[in-house]
């Protein structure tokens, strides 16, 4: 028996039996509450999506620059370790001892030559291969491992790893298209806007729990309607306003998306769309405008790109903020969000300070981050406690120009893909 083959022993899923009582509504704009609350759906998502043919964001290479560097990470709800070996190669494997199942790595990041499970000291190398076990021959010739015990049959469960421009993705599956094909040309172009191949510099990581279903966060970044209404910071200072030049694209399968916005110079006081926006505060002026200052640094027509890469990554480039948000599901009603913030290795001290200052906007204490985290909690409170019904995402059309901003097109396209991937 081997545990290095990835999901050969995974039980076949009889979807029809498991969730046959759940019926997706006929209305193409409707989204049923049960995708946010039903634990069976959550379990099915782990197998079909996160353990399926998906590339999952797991790390930035800048988080593990040296041989022996490692971080804790996740694919779906599964804890993993991402490590760089002595030859510089990046590996990802389950954070679960092959012996008794202990989640042995309990530090966020570090540097090591070997991973030693503290329970019985099974010892793994930086590729996740089992290197040694204590008392293999027992004591005084008795006990110990069976004579046919083979170390190589008890490696940590390894993952398929790919890197692009300093970003590490992993998959439980080997039979998966390349990351470039997974994204498709338009999304790859968006990805390369944030990760243009320059070496990155890690600035820090924030973590928060969210009392909500993980898909609500994907939706949030596919929803330009809320961006123009909920976020006073975006609307008042023109970072994302309905009147701005905008582009919304999805990939051919509808699972990835990007919302691009070009910020005009100055405050958009005369924009006709303002009277629709209750969050616009005409009197609001910053005492210190440095937090919103745009320092031109990219050859891009856009000042913000909000990119969702299915299933667990949000990339956000906003003004001079660069960040990756990793979604970690923790049950139907909860997820963890890991915000990894970075700049470029060749930033000077002033640029680094500027990025750090601007990061007041995002994160679980950010001017915009707080709005979103609260709104998602409100939705989960509603769908959890009320009589189930269907939410709707009816705005815009499925076929429309990329410049249409008041639209739910990218949410609907995601759920068409989701139903296919889930067999719902």
């Amino acid at each position: 028996m081997t545990n290095t083959s990835r999901f050969a022993s995974s039980p076949a899923v009889n979807r029809a039996e498991e969730v046959s009582d759940l019926h997706w509504p006929d209305d193409p704009a409707a989204i049923p509450d049960w995708i946010y609350t039903d634990p069976r759906i959550y379990e099915l998502e782990q197998r079909r999506i996160f353990q399926g043919r998906t590339w999952n964001y797991v790390a930035l290479e800048a988080e593990l620059p040296k041989p022996g560097d490692y971080i804790r990470s996740y694919i779906g709800a599964t804890p993993i370790i991402v490590a760089r070996d002595e030859h510089g190669k990046i590996h990802a494997f389950e954070n679960r001892c092959a012996h008794r199942g202990a989640e042995f790595c309990k530090t966020y990041r570090g540097n090591t030559k070997l991973f030693i499970c503290p329970y019985h000291q099974w010892t793994y190398d930086l590729s996740g291969a089992l290197a040694s076990v204590p008392f293999r021959r027992g004591v005084k010739g008795v006990g110990g491992m069976p004579a046919d015990f083979k170390l190589e049959e008890h490696n940590l469960r390894g993952l398929n790893v790919t890197c692009r421009h300093g970003v590490v993705f992993a998959s439980f599956r080997d039979d998966i298209e390349s990351f470039e094909d997974y994204l498709g040309p338009d999304m790859l172009d968006q990805f390369d806007t944030v990760f243009d191949g320059r070496p990155l510099k890690l600035l820090g990581v924030h973590r928060n729990t969210m009392p909500g279903n993980w898909k609500l966060y994907q939706e949030n970044l596919k929803d330009p309607y809320h961006a123009t209404l909920l976020h006073t910071y975006l609307t008042t200072f023109g970072l994302f306003v309905a009147g701005n030049k905008t582009m919304i694209l999805t990939d051919s399968k509808g699972r990835h998306s990007t919302l691009c916005n070009a910020r005009p110079q100055g405050r958009p006081e005369n924009d006709q769309s303002k009277k629709e926006i209750r969050s616009f505060h005409a009197a609001m002026k910053l005492a210190d405008p440095r937090v919103l200052q745009l320092i031109p640094e990219k050859d891009s027509p856009w000042t913000s790109n909000a990119i969702t890469i299915w299933p667990n990554l949000i990339l956000l480039r906003q003004t001079n903020i660069l960040g990756a948000r990793q979604i970690v599901p923790m049950g139907a009603n909860q997820f963890m969000l890991i915000w990894t913030t970075f700049g470029y290795a060749d930033d000077d001290a002033a640029m680094e300070q500027h990025r750090l200052r601007q990061n007041n906007i995002f994160g679980p204490g950010g001017f915009i981050g707080i709005d979103d985290n609260e709104a998602i909690k409100f939705v989960q409170d509603g769908v959890t406690h009320s009589i189930p019904r269907h939410g709707v995402a009816p705005l815009g059309q499925d076929v429309e120009g990329p410049e249409v901003v008041i639209t739910d097109r990218a949410i609907r396209s995601l759920y068409r893909h989701y139903r296919e991937e889930m067999g719902l």
Binding site: T209, H281, P364
Partner: protein, 172 residues
């Protein structure tokens, strides 16, 4: 009574002087906590000097020498912008917060500048939910003493609770 701001001490502080400074900082922290806990966020910047610095830092970032803060304000302008945003523009459910600030220790005194430490714990209460721990951490402070009044030149809040529950609205 506080040691005068204008009598720099090259000598180590006496126990009595340390007690005076600690007691003044405890009083300051009680006022600071009360202001935040009654939701009077727009008074919060008044606890800082014009060039006051405020940072809220996850302990694992601090341990790894990573410079990112969850909130950061450099000077009165940014302190006021943060306060205004909380009071008028951010969307969040109403909440009570309650600070407990303990174990104040003075770690240095020179030319009217006091360095000090304290532990803090903040509980948060939302409607129809049990009260929960929002944060626990340490203040790393630098105070400026002007006559009888203390002001923060710098407050670094380094929090152990790195997995933030939903979000932090009010600055710790």
């Amino acid at each position: 009574m506080l040691t005068s701001a204008h009598s720099p001490t090259a000598r180590p502080l006496s126990r009595a002087q340390l007690r005076d400074l600690c007691s003044a900082i405890e009083e300051f922290n009680a006022d600071y906590a009360d202001t935040l806990d009654r939701g009077d966020i727009e008074q919060w910047p008044s606890y800082f000097t014009e060039d006051g610095v405020y940072r809220l830092i996850a302990r694992d970032n601090a341990d790894a020498n990573l410079p990112l803060s969850l909130m950061s304000c450099e000077g009165m302008g940014m302190l006021k912008d943060r306060a205004y945003a909380i009071a008028h523009t951010e969307m969040f459910a109403p909440r009570y917060t309650l600070h407990q600030i303990t174990q104040v220790r003075v770690t240095g005194f020179d030319e009217g500048i006091i360095t000090a430490r304290a532990n803090y714990v903040i509980y948060e209460t939302l409607i129809d939910e049990p009260t929960r721990l929002l944060q626990c951490g340490k203040y790393r402070d630098t105070f400026l003493m002007g006559g009888e009044k203390l002001l923060l030149k710098e407050r670094n809040c380094i929090y152990d609770t790195v997995l933030v529950p939903t979000c932090i609205v009010y600055p710790p």
